[in-house]
């Protein structure tokens, strides 16, 4: 096991403990899966990826665990509007939003400090306690133009 995995195992354990939830092998495997590829994964993909690695976890557990991870800010939900939710590891120090090509589905990540600033202003002005956001730009990528 690599160092990063050990660290993340402890992180998962401590969060489960704090929430009064139990540490299980299924939760660990799903969390590993999401950690390994920080890309935009949907529930079915995660389910099959585990299967292919010989790790048998039920679909329901995948959904339940993803839910729990989202609630605890371990992963972020990403909804590009195609009817299924995608998820990715929430690296607080590498926050980003998404540019999506409506022709080929390509996803490019972006981050803007300025947009972040204005978002916080807007939330403040409207007396909202900002929790998270979702910001997608849809267009045609260079290759598809």
């Amino acid at each position: 096991m690599r160092l990063i995995e050990i660290a993340c195992k402890e992180r998962l354990k401590s969060i489960l403990h704090n929430e009064g939830l139990r540490y299980t092998s299924q939760r660990q495997e799903i969390w590993n899966e999401l950690l390994e590829s920080k890309e935009h994964r949907d529930a079915e993909e995660i389910y099959y990826s585990l299967m292919n690695r010989g790790i048998q976890v039920s679909r329901a557990t995948v959904y339940r665990t993803i839910d729990m991870l989202v609630k605890n800010n371990m992963i972020e939900k990403l909804d590009i509007g195609d009817g299924k939710a995608r998820f990715e590891y929430n690296d607080k120090y590498k926050h980003h939003d998404h540019l999506i090509c409506t022709a080929c589905g390509k996803i490019v990540e972006f981050y803007s400090k300025n947009i972040d600033k204005y978002q916080r202003e807007i939330a403040k002005k409207n007396k909202f306690e900002l929790l998270h956001h979702s910001h997608h730009l849809f267009g045609i990528c260079e290759d598809c133009q």
Copy 2:
């Protein structure tokens, strides 16, 4: 019929004509429904709202018409991540994004010229031809805090 409705009837007719599509009472009724309340409506709501007003249109037609209206930029799709699509009249002169309370579901509209500017810059930098965007801020509103 109010003046605005007449104007919009002509607008619908002309768009259908340009696209080589037919003008039907169902399309008119669905368009009226979306015009009347510029709020955030989902397909099912529109379907039932028409039913309640004694206007019988099938679900499939509601979906098909909404689709057509989105494609022709008459309405905008709004996806707040709860698994169903919402739609609203696309008033080009009153573009806005959304602040959503995760506790009560309240939706507050906002607009920022600055964010708009940075969005265009990001698209340009990545050589995307920007078509549209979706920008939601999720948080807890004043009442729910």
